[in-house]
C-alpha cells in the first residue's frame, strides 16, 4: 500500500474527459514524477487530490483515509501541501509573514482566536520560519513585500511555505517553470536536500526532463487523461510508447 492510492478516478469537463480511469500508487518517501504533454490532465489530477475538484468517480486514499469530500484546509491538515503552477502567495504580506502563516496553521489547526497575542512574541514560530527561509536562501529578503519578488523568488517562497509545514506529501506543479537555469539547479538541489533530510514523499509535475530525471524515482506518463506507463526513470527513457506520446515531442 502506498501513502497515496488513486483508484479509477474519472473527471469530465462538459464533453472533455480530463481524467479517464486514473490509477496511481505513490510509495512513502519516494519522489514520484508525473509527466505528459500540455492538457494531459496533470493539474486536474492534483486538483482532485487537494479538494479543489471532486472526481466524478473513483477513490483517493491518503494515509489510509479518503480525501474525497473533504475541504482543502482539512486535506492540508491531513498532511498534503501543494505548490501551484502559478505561484499562490500572500502578495500584500511580507515574506516572513507568508512563511509564518503555514506555521500557525500547523500549530493551531484550521482556526484559533489568537487575537491578543503578539506576533513578535512567537519565538518558536519565527525561528521555524527563519530557518526555512535560510534553506531556500531568502532570509535576507524576509521583510520584503512578497508581491514585489521576482517570479523565481515567488516560487521559492511558495515552496518554503509548503516545506515549513513538514507535510507527509508534497505536491509540486511545475516548480521550476519560468525559472532561470541557475534557479532551476538550485531548486533541484533544494528538493534533493529536503528529500534526504525530511523524508517527505513528493509528487512532482514537470516538463523539464532534466529536473524529472534528477529527482524522480518513479515516473508516471499521462496522456489524454490516462496513465500510459509507470516505471523507473531508466525504463521510461527508453520506452517506445513514451517516446511516441511525449518525449519525441519534447526533444529529449
Amino acid at each position: 500500500m502506498g501513502i497515496l492510492e488513486v483508484k479509477g478516478v474519472n473527471k469530465r469537463f462538459g464533453g472533455l474527459q480530463a481524467l479517464g480511469d486514473v490509477n496511481l500508487s505513490v510509495q512513502e518517501e519516494t519522489v514520484h514524477a508525473i509527466i505528459g504533454p500540455n492538457g494531459a490532465g496533470k493539474s486536474t489530477l492534483l486538483n482532485c487530490l487537494v479538494g479543489k475538484l471532486i472526481p466524478d468517480s473513483g477513490s483517493v486514499m491518503f494515509d489510509g483515509k479518503s480525501v474525497l469530500g473533504r475541504k482543502p484546509y482539512e486535506i492540508n491538515q491531513m498532511g498534503i501541501s501543494r505548490v501551484f503552477q502559478t505561484p499562490e502567495i500572500f502578495g500584500d504580506l511580507t515574506v516572513m509573514e507568508n512563511v509564518m502563516i503555514p506555521c500557525f496553521a500547523k500549530r493551531d489547526g484550521t482556526f484559533r482566536l489568537h487575537a491578543l497575542e503578539s506576533v513578535t512574541h512567537e519565538k518558536a514560530i519565527r525561528e521555524q520560519a527563519e530557518s526555512i527561509l535560510a534553506e531556500v536562501k531568502m532570509l535576507e529578503k524576509k521583510d520584503f513585500h512578497s508581491g514585489t519578488l521576482s517570479r523565481g523568488d515567488k516560487r521559492r517562497l511558495e515552496m518554503a511555505m509548503c516545506l515549513v509545514q513538514q507535510p507527509k506529501l508534497l505536491l509540486l506543479d511545475e516548480p521550476t517553470a519560468g525559472m532561470a537555469r541557475a534557479d532551476t539547479n538550485n531548486t533541484i538541489a533544494l528538493l534533493k536536500d529536503i528529500k534526504q533530510r525530511h523524508k517527505i514523499t513528493m509528487v512532482i509535475i514537470e516538463h523539464d526532463m532534466h529536473v524529472v530525471f534528477s529527482l524522480a524515482e518513479r515516473i508516471t506518463v499521462l496522456a489524454q487523461g490516462t496513465p500510459l506507463v509507470e516505471d523507473t526513470p531508466e525504463n521510461i527513457k527508453g520506452h517506445p510508447k513514451v517516446r511516441e506520446a511525449y518525449l519525441g515531442e519534447a526533444q529529449v
Binding site: 484546509y73 500572500f90 500584500d92 504580506l93 500557525f104 506576533v119
Partner: protein
Amino acid sequence: MLGLGRKDTTLFAIVVLVTVLAPFLLNPFPADSAMAQFNSGYPDLMQRFAIYGIFAIGFNILFGLTGYLSFGHAAFLGVGSYSAVWMFKLLSMNVIPALILAVIVSAIFSVVIGFIALRRSGIYFSILTLAMAQMMYNLAYSVFSNPAMNLTNGETGLQVYASDPQYLKGNGPDVTHLFGLQMNSTYEMSVAGWKFDFGVGYYLCAVIMLVAFYIAIRIFRSPFGIMLRAVKSNQHRLNYTGVNPRPYNLAAFVISGMYAGLAGGLLACMDPLAGAERMQWTASGEVVIMTILGGAGTLVGPILGAGFIKYFENIFSKINENVLHSWFHWLPESVQNFVVHVLSPFFGEGWSLTMGLMFMAVVIFLPGGLVEGGLRIGRLFRRRPAPTPDAATKPAE
C-alpha cells in the same frame, strides 16, 4: 510597553495625549474672536468624535484587514442604542449595564448577520449586509413598535419615561451617570479670552475609545490579525495552507459589530434616546467613508476620518451666507456678493458637497487616505536633510 512594539507605543501615547488634551486642542481660538466658530471643543461634539472613532476603528478591523466591505454596520450601532435605552428603562440610568447589554446584543446580531452574509464575498457580501441592515431598519421603524410588543417605539424613538420601572434606580439621578458621576456635568475653565470645557461624558467616551484603540492595535499585531490580512490578500492560498477562512471572517465581523454596538450604546449614554434613523443605510455609508478617508487598514486612519467628517458635519455646516459676508466685508459690495455666491454652495448646507469633493480627491490621489498624506508629508521633511541612498530600495513595512 503594554505588550506593544516601540512604534505602536509611541503612536498610542500620542493618541492618548491628543485625546486627553482635546478640550484644549480643539478650542484654539478665544471664545469671542471671529475664529471661534472653528472651535470644536464642545463636550457634545467631542463625544461624537470619540464615539464615531470607536465605530470606525471597529469597522476597520473588518474592512481594513479582511477587505470585506460591509454596508450595514449602522444596524449594530442602532441595536446598541436600543439595548442601552432598554437598560435605562428597566434598571437605572447607570451607563455600565447599558454598555454591557449593547455589546452583547450587537454581538448576537452580528453573529447571525455575519453568518449569512459571509457565505458570499465581494459585492454580493456588501449587498447582503445592506439588505439585512435595511430590513432591520424597517423592522425597528414599524414592526417592532406595535402596542403588543413595543421594542423600539417607532417614529418617536425609544426613550425613558417617568412611568418606566427602573428597578435598580432607588434615589439615583434621573440623568445618565457612572455610579453617580453624571454624564452631562462639565467643568468650565476660563483663561484670559479662552474657554475650555471638560465634560464627564467626553472623558468616559475618550477612555473607552482609547481601550478600543488599544485592543485594535493588539489585534493588528496578532497572529489572528495576520490571518485576516491573508484573507484579503489571497483567500485561495489560505485554504490550501490548512486555514479555514470562514471562522476568521466571522470573528472579524462580530468584533467589528461589537465595536459598533458599543458606539451605539455610548450614543445612548450621552443622550438617552434611540431612533431607527441611526440604522439607516446613510449611517452605514458614513462609516465606510470615514474609514476610507482616514486610511483603511491603518491604525489611526479611522479615528482621523471620523474626526474629519464629524468636524465638517458640525462646524463647516454652520458657515452660512451671513458668515461668508462677514468674512469678505472688506471687498467692494458687488465683488463681495459674487464671491459669496460662488462659495456658498460649498459651505453651510453644502458641506457634504465639499466633503464629497475631498473624498474623491483622497481616493484618487491618496489611496492610503489621510494617513498616507501625513506619511508623505513627513517623508518630504525627513528626506531633505540626509537623503540616504538605500531609502528607495528598502522594503515597505
